[in-house]
């Protein structure tokens, strides 16, 4: 909060309070969490840049066309998109104070997230089985780093989701829990935004090469 003070023309001394007045708990959480997300965004930007630079260096190994299955990626994308809207429903029911409905939507969100991770791990296992390991070429190193980092974020989001469901189950939709659910909401939707970049830049444009 800023208090505007007119410039002093009279030369009178101006006093400011040295200590800030007390703030309610969690008043700055959403801004702080947003700044964390932005720093995470920079991490992904660097991984995208790395993939952009190294993505065409196949070292005579498999290229995107040999490895990617767009049908699978489309299913994966829809899983993440559906989990985004169900998390939105969880937030709406949370605002109405309906604990049971909130928990149900959170559980559905978690299942979609789990399906996403499952499909991604199946894809990775399939690629590694065919010899397309992260060690094979610069393209695959940067691919696994970028997509793996995103998958790791989703996995940690799932752990966080289960933690918050336990919190809500034990303490209900208290203000602190609402704040936590709001942070996870921002995190979850942010991961969906990153995935838009992944499926466009890595998968779709990889198939165009």
């Amino acid at each position: 909060m800023t208090i505007s003070v007119k410039p002093q023309q009279t030369g009178e001394p101006l006093f400011y309070l040295a200590d800030e007045h007390p703030h309610p708990e969690g008043w700055s959480t959403s801004l702080g969490f947003w700044i964390y997300l932005m720093s995470d965004c920079l991490v992904f930007a660097i991984l995208f840049a790395t993939y952009g630079v190294l993505g065409a260096n196949y070292a005579a190994g498999p290229a995107p066309k040999d490895l990617f299955d767009l049908n699978l990626v489309a299913i994966n994308t829809s899983m993440l998109l559906l989990s985004s809207i169900t998390y939105g429903f969880a937030m709406l029911t949370m605002q109405q104070g309906r604990v049971g409905a909130t928990q149900a939507w959170l559980a559905i969100t978690g299942l979609f997230g789990l399906a996403f991770i499952g499909i991604e791990l199946t894809e990775f296992a399939h690629m590694i089985h065919e010899g397309a390991t992260p060690q094979r070429s610069a393209f695959l190193s940067s691919f696994f780093t970028l997509v793996g980092t995103h998958g790791l974020h989703v996995s940690f989001g799932l752990v966080w989701l289960v933690t918050l469901m336990t919190q809500v189950w034990r303490f209900g939709l208290i203000e602190a829990n609402q704040r936590r659910l709001m942070c996870l909401s921002m995190f979850w939707h942010f991961l969906d935004v990153v995935w838009i970049g992944v499926f466009t830049f890595v998968y779709l444009m990889g198939m165009l090469r």
Partner: protein, 125 residues
């Protein structure tokens, strides 16, 4: 929550006063996202546009639009929340991301085109 009440609430922050969506905005965002995801996939899988370069540019355009849709309808970005500081942080991040991405690609592209292949270099001695 409209901007007027938000500006009034901004005087003293409270987690409850964070911008929330409604059922209709979530559903609108979802429908837009589905369309903006399905079209690029269809364009690449069917090869409808023929030209690969044009297809790449078009799907990048779709991605940018979808990111904005997610920001507005799911992340509830607006210029008023937290007295504009979230928007400030976002703009700063976008500038950094653009510099990092375009700078890396530009520099490394020139490096690749200007570096001589190894077999030509061996003939120079």
């Amino acid at each position: 929550m409209n901007t007027d009440t938000h500006a009034a609430a901004a005087a003293h922050h409270h987690p409850d006063q964070h911008a929330h969506g409604s059922l209709s905005t979530y559903l609108l965002g979802f429908i837009l996202s589905v369309a903006l995801t399905a079209v690029p996939f269809w364009l690449v899988m069917s090869g409808e546009l023929g030209n690969k370069q044009v297809t790449a540019l078009v799907i990048m355009g779709f991605a940018v639009v979808q990111i904005v849709v997610h920001m507005v309808y799911f992340l509830h970005m607006n210029t008023a929340s937290e007295n504009g500081w979230t928007m400030m942080a976002l703009i700063f991040t976008i500038v950094m991301v653009v510099i990092a991405l375009s700078g890396s690609l530009w520099v490394m592209h020139h490096l690749t085109t200007n570096m001589m292949p190894i077999h030509e270099m061996s003939g120079m001695k």
